[in-house]
């Protein structure tokens, strides 16, 4: 029993600590398990799943930018059926809550995916990706449309009892409006933020550095944007927030929690140091001990303005 209570709640889901691994940065768990003890974490979120397998975008998919990176993977994934058959057996051996991220091109596809996946006991919650910037149909066009987010949330809510998290786009003027809509339509939590739309050109060839031209910007470069968006939601909507955006160490986690996050997701850092998430859990505990924080949940939205 640790001396500090690191547990946090996301709706009806209790996490042993606030450290989750973000969708698209953990595959289906097997590669990360070589570097970090998944059982130490608060939760892991799968790569976005769609009803049918998706091949994703051609190369180049990734480019580094100052303090960040652009990616346009295009939601490459094995599809719901293969996921259940081939990926779940590996994930079953862990106690860590498994959250399935779903990305779809139509509202019906979101509903269909959730209906199938909710039958699987290993899956403890859903994160609905309404904000992928890298696919032609669906994705960001949903994330930019309050009515679409309302509809998706409502329809998915109707087919699962499990906690429902809506992953919000930062590429909007008022993110709190989207969080409010998600809550009103039955979501248990929101995660914020997905990547920011960005682009980079080679100045000699004058060509875009990634095939899709635009991509999603992640990494420490976006942290202040993410903190601002989390804070905006926290001020205006009473809903648990999972903070995401450029977390590189335990200090960033504390900052996200103070700004209003109940939990956080680590993303780009997994690519650089896949053993970091486990270490951050230990460092959070040390920080709490040193600073007399008995329950880490007491930090949530504890900002002093």
């Amino acid at each position: 029993m640790s001396k500090v209570d690191l547990s946090v709640k996301i709706g009806s889901l209790t996490l042993q600590n606030p450290i989750m691994l973000a969708s698209g940065t953990v595959g289906y768990g097997n590669e990360m398990a070589e570097f970090t003890d998944l059982n130490k974490l608060g939760g892991i979120v799968t790569k976005s799943l769609s009803l049918k397998p998706r091949k994703g975008n051609p190369p180049q998919r990734i480019v580094e930018t100052p303090a960040g990176m652009l990616n346009a993977i295009g939601l490459a994934n094995v599809g719901v059926e293969v996921f259940l058959k081939e990926k779940i057996p590996f994930l079953k051996q862990f106690n860590v809550p498994l959250i399935c991220n779903i990305a779809a091109s139509t509202i019906e596809e979101y509903v269909e995916c959730t209906k199938i996946l909710t039958e699987e006991d290993t899956i403890k919650a859903f994160e609905i990706n309404v904000s992928c910037p890298n696919v032609k149909e669906g994705g960001l066009s949903f994330g930019n449309d309050v009515k679409a987010v309302a509809k998706i949330t409502e329809r998915v809510r109707a087919v699962t009892q499990k906690p429902l998290i809506i992953k919000l786009s930062p590429n909007v003027s008022y993110i709190a409006e989207f969080a409010k809509t998600a809550k009103e339509n039955g979501a248990d939590a929101v995660s914020a933020i997905n990547t920011l739309v960005g682009a980079a050109f080679n100045i000699f060839t004058r060509k875009p550095k990634i095939h899709n031209v635009t991509g999603g910007l992640s990494g420490p470069a976006i942290k202040p944007v993410a903190i601002a968006k989390v804070f905006e939601i926290s001020r205006q909507v009473d809903i648990p927030i999972i903070g995401i955006g450029g977390i590189m160490d335990w200090r960033d986690v504390i900052e996200f929690m103070i700004a209003g996050s109940s939990a956080v997701q680590i993303g780009t850092l997994n690519f650089i140091d896949p053993s970091a998430p486990g270490k951050i859990v230990n460092q959070l505990e040390e920080h709490c001990i040193k600073n007399g924080v008995e329950k880490i949940s007491s930090l949530i939205a504890s900002y002093q303005l």
Binding site: G24, E34, K47, R61, A67, P220, T268
Partner: protein, 246 residues
């Protein structure tokens, strides 16, 4: 980091003490190195293993940008944050007596180690090309034939043209090609190998973030399975040249 050797004015050889790696790493595998603790450059930089001697491994690189520049100027004695070994490495199986190494430019990097492993077991012939004489890198290679695009060193033309010129000699032996180099070279080499029915293992390259399969950033098209991509970092970086679209 024990030593940085300048092979010529733009190619460096980095000598690293790492017994943890030297006894498990295979030729054609790579290492992903975090050159800085800071957030820029953010991502690790992949380097194929160049050679292994006892407890030391060698990496060959040129200065491409901020990351490699930091690496080249690190003080001797610094600790390096290395993730690896990553990727599959060369498959040396097969019915052949002569290993033919084909490399363009810095594509020569993995072959000192390949040469060390195969020396004494197979005959080795190396066809090494580059744009100009400075790009023809023959460090620790054996039985080298050289080519340069501008004719400043060896055969004037590219390395695949040099292979064609030596076709009779090559066809008289049981050979397998091990290759690494720019995409244009590998593309021409693939055509050559298919036409001449020669087995070839090629090490490929693609921008990547993680190096171990989670970012999905480095797709390469498979010739047989069209519904999904292979990943350069995990399924490769070495492929049978017939199996991938180059």
């Amino acid at each position: 980091m024990e030593e940085i050797i300048e092979l010529n004015h733009h190619i460096y050889l980095l000598k690293v003490f790492s017994p943890e790696l030297t006894y498990i790493i295979k030729p054609g595998q790579f290492l992903n190195i975090r050159v800085s603790e800071r957030v820029y450059p953010l991502l690790r930089r992949p380097f194929s293993v160049c050679d292994v001697q006892g407890d030391h491994l060698y990496l060959m690189f040129n200065i491409m940008g901020e990351g490699t520049s930091i690496l080249a100027h690190k003080p001797i004695g610094s600790n390096l944050d290395i993730l690896g070994p990553l990727g599959n490495g060369f498959n040396f199986d097969g019915d052949y007596e002569t290993a033919v190494i084909v490399a363009g430019g810095l594509g020569a990097a993995p072959f000192p180690f390949v040469t060390r492993i195969l020396d004494g077991k197979k005959n080795i012939l190396s066809f090494i090309g580059g744009r100009t004489k400075d790009d023809v890198i023959t460090y620790n290679l054996k039985n080298v034939k050289e080519a340069s695009d501008d004719g400043s060193r060896g055969f004037k033309g590219n390395v695949v043209q040099l292979l064609e010129k030596n076709l009779e000699q090559l066809k008289s032996k049981k050979i397998k090609i091990f290759a690494c180099g720019p995409t244009a070279m590998l593309r021409a080499l693939k055509d050559f190998c298919i036409k001449q029915n020669i087995e070839c293992e090629a090490s490929t390259e693609c921008a990547m973030a993680c190096g171990f399969g989670i970012c999905q950033g480095c797709p390469i098209e498979s010739t047989s399975e069209k519904d999904h991509y292979l990943l350069v970092c995990k399924d490769g970086p070495v492929f049978n040249i017939k199996d991938v679209v180059i």
